[in-house]
């Protein structure tokens, strides 16, 4: 069997004739049309993640037949190739050529940091539905008045996760994470919370983003650790658990949410069973709403939805909520951001509201990889079973906004590794 991606996904409605020249003759900002520009990688290493993202959004749009309270949704997809500078140029195209009302997407944290200035420059709303760069809705939020987030900050689920790790009785943990902004923020959030409740991160290892041979890194993991905290992205997620198991590891493994996301889970082997992770979503959340979502998504696209799909599905839902309030009229970029930040929805991932810096407050789920039957499917599969729920987690966790923002953004060297030798 050749496993082709079962997208059946019609490439976005395309604007603009091929001919350079007169360009776009569309009427500017007609109230009945809501133009949404969507940026996701369609080629390159992250192509499949990009498909998951756009599938999620499109599924919602299809469900309401492209009608957001009277506004006709025009969905324009651009391939950012997973590269920040390409995303910038595509964003310029979306804002200038297609005159979109809202830009959504961007995968990597670095893409988020690159797109936010475009939104300021072009005075266009930007919704990072996946890009989790902390500072977009923290220390730099005031620089980006048109950014409003429906996804998460990288460190957000890892604060409760750190506390959870303390409760399990782990004292010493080795962190190994992809060497870039997202990795620092995930590991940093976990470390800060874990050390706040008495734990010690005794070593931090940073393999470059895209590492597949972990041979150089695994042997350096300290013997005296009680557990390992990992943060892997994309193809890295597949290789690390395998190579860790082959090296004879017996320690418990904790991971950032993307390490075990449903995007990679079906390709994983049994070596990842029993690993823990934390995220605001799991396809195995046992609520009627989610069961319905998983069933419909799987029917349509042939695979279990990942958080990339869920986040964009929910984003569409939240935009729809705003449009309901305006009865389908575009309220203007500034007003839209304001209204979206006040929206409260009961979504697939659970209840969501936004905080004053325009980032979601939502549940965080501690998940354990298990092989079992779920949602009525009759074969054994790997699922992220929810073992604990932290309700209404804000990006500032228990510290509160002011205290939290006093510290610098998590980085390679912050929090410092006090317990490393």
């Amino acid at each position: 069997m050749l496993r082709r991606p079962t997208t059946g996904f019609p490439r976005a409605v395309k604007l603009g004739a091929l001919a350079l020249g007169a360009g776009l003759a569309a009427a500017p900002a007609a109230a009945e049309e809501l133009r949404i520009g969507f940026l996701a990688p369609m080629t390159g290493i992250f192509a499949q993640v990009g498909k998951d993202m756009s599938n999620g959004f499109e599924m919602y749009v299809d469900e309401v037949k492209g009608d957001f309270a009277g506004a006709k949704v025009k969905f324009i997809l651009e391939d950012g190739q997973g590269k920040p500078p390409v995303n910038v140029r595509k964003a310029e195209k979306l804002t200038r050529q297609d005159k979109v009302h809202v830009m959504i997407g961007g995968l990597l944290a670095s893409t988020g940091y690159a797109l936010a200035p475009v939104s300021t420059r072009e005075k266009t709303v930007y919704i990072p539905s996946v890009a989790a760069a902390d500072d977009l809705t923290q220390r730099e939020a005031s620089k980006y008045p048109y950014v409003v987030r429906t996804g998460w900050t990288s460190s957000q689920p890892n604060h409760p996760f750190g506390e959870w790790a303390c409760e399990q009785g782990y004292k010493k943990i080795v962190a190994i994470g992809a060497d870039y902004a997202f990795g620092y923020e995930v590991v940093g959030g976990f470390q800060r919370a874990f050390e706040a409740c008495g734990g010690q991160v005794i070593q931090k290892i940073w393999p470059p983003l895209g590492t597949k041979d972990f041979g150089p890194f695994i042997p350096t993991i300290r013997e005296d650790a009680d557990a390992i905290f990992t943060l892997m992205v994309g193809p890295m997620s597949l290789q690390f658990p395998k190579q860790l198991a082959a090296s004879g590891n017996k320690k418990p493994v904790l991971g950032g949410g993307t390490s075990y996301d449903e995007f990679v889970l079906p390709s994983m082997g049994d070596e990842s069973i029993g690993h823990y992770s934390a995220l605001q979503y799991s396809a195995a959340i046992d609520t009627p709403k989610n069961r319905e979502f998983v069933r419909k998504y799987r029917e349509k696209y042939g695979k279990v939805p990942s958080y990339y799909s869920e986040s964009n599905y929910t984003t569409a839902q939240m935009i729809h909520e705003v449009m309901k309030q305006t009865k389908g009229k575009w309220p203007g970029a500034g007003k839209f951001v304001q209204m979206l930040s006040k929206v409260k929805v009961d979504s697939v991932r659970g209840p969501i509201r936004l905080d004053e810096l325009r980032n979601p407050v939502h549940n965080v789920y501690i998940r354990k990889v298990e092989k079992k039957k779920m949602h009525g499917y009759d074969q054994d599969e790997l699922w992220n079973t929810v073992i604990k729920t932290y309700p209404n987690v804000s990006q500032f966790w228990k510290w509160g906004k002011d205290e939290f923002l006093k510290q610098p953004v998590y980085s390679r060297d912050f929090p410092p590794c006090k317990f490393c030798q």
Binding site: R3, R4, P5, P208, D213, V264
Partner: protein, 286 residues
């Protein structure tokens, strides 16, 4: 950092080097005989992995996927050489650009055929275990990679030293005009070498697929590393490719373990130095 650390790291470096040897030996031979900088070599590696996956999905036979993929890629290489590169004649720049064009075409075709998922080749259960010797874990798959590379290396060496074709290849590497003069069919040799190079890259792709994964973008990730091997070891020499693979495998491994900050720079700067001081590489013949 005790003895155990060093043993494991050396072992890891060796096994990574073994994989690099499969990839780079072909590139080196192609360069030696034809003076072609083949930027589509990474694509052969990736396509090898993809073809193997298709074979595994249809037949469930991992063992079959190795020769099937390698042969399929050899055919791709052979066609590319006959239909496109041969008519160009000797012009390094045009050859490079042609191979780049093909690399782009292969990339898009692979995405259209196999989709964008991060895929993974699962070897037989036995190879996913580890041997424990003196308390140290040696993953068997890495041992397997070293074994394959040694076997292929020996076979190539024997072929080059003992067969008529090998003699013709060596003659073409040393001086292709002279070789033609004494009646060696260099066109045939070129075709054979290009197909062999593609074969080895495809083979590397299958073996490496279980270790690095198979995903869009792997082609251009692995390519510069293959060039590092070839440049350091010397172009057109099997022994050079072997030594170059070991050096790069170990240097990369220890570079990442000990000085992660500058790991890329430590890979390319020696390349520049070697090229500047001895353009034919450490073991290349002048």
């Amino acid at each position: 950092m005790d003895a155990e650390f060093w043993i494991i790291q050396v072992f890891n470096g060796l096994s990574y080097g073994a994989l690099l040897f499969l990839l780079a030996a072909g590139l080196s031979l192609i360069f030696g005989v034809m003076r072609i900088v083949n930027l589509a070599h990474g694509s052969y590696f990736l396509l090898g992995g993809y073809v193997a996956l298709t074979v595994i999905w249809t037949t469930d036979l991992w063992v079959l996927s190795i020769p099937a993929a390698a042969l399929a890629i050899a055919v791709v290489g052979l066609l590319m050489e006959r239909l496109f590169l041969r008519p160009l004649g000797f012009d390094p720049l045009r050859q490079v650009l042609l191979t780049v064009g093909f690399a782009f075409l292969f990339q898009q075709a692979a995405l259209d055929i196999w989709g964008g998922d991060s895929l993974d080749i699962t070897p037989p259960e036995a190879l996913t275990r580890s041997a424990v010797i003196g308390g140290i874990y040696f993953p068997l798959y890495r041992v397997f990679m070293i074994g394959v590379a040694v076997a292929i290396g020996l076979a190539l060496w024997l072929a080059m030293e003992k067969t008529r074709m090998g003699a013709m290849v060596r003659a073409a590497v040393d001086d292709s005009e002279m070789a033609r003069g004494v009646g060696v069919d260099t066109s045939l040799v070129s075709m054979f070498i290009f197909a062999l190079g593609a074969f080895l890259a495809g083979l590397g792709g299958v073996i490496g697929g279980a270790f690095l994964g198979v995903y869009p973008g792997l082609d251009f990730e692995i390519l510069p590393i293959a060039f590092a091997v070839v440049i350091i070891g010397g172009m057109g020499s099997l022994g050079g490719a072997a030594i170059g693979s070991l050096i790069v495998g170990l240097a990369d491994n220890f570079g990442k373990a000990l000085f992660p900050e500058i790991s890329y720079f430590t890979l390319y700067a020696p390349m520049v130095l070697i090229l500047a001081l001895k353009p034919t590489g450490l073991f290349g013949r002048e």
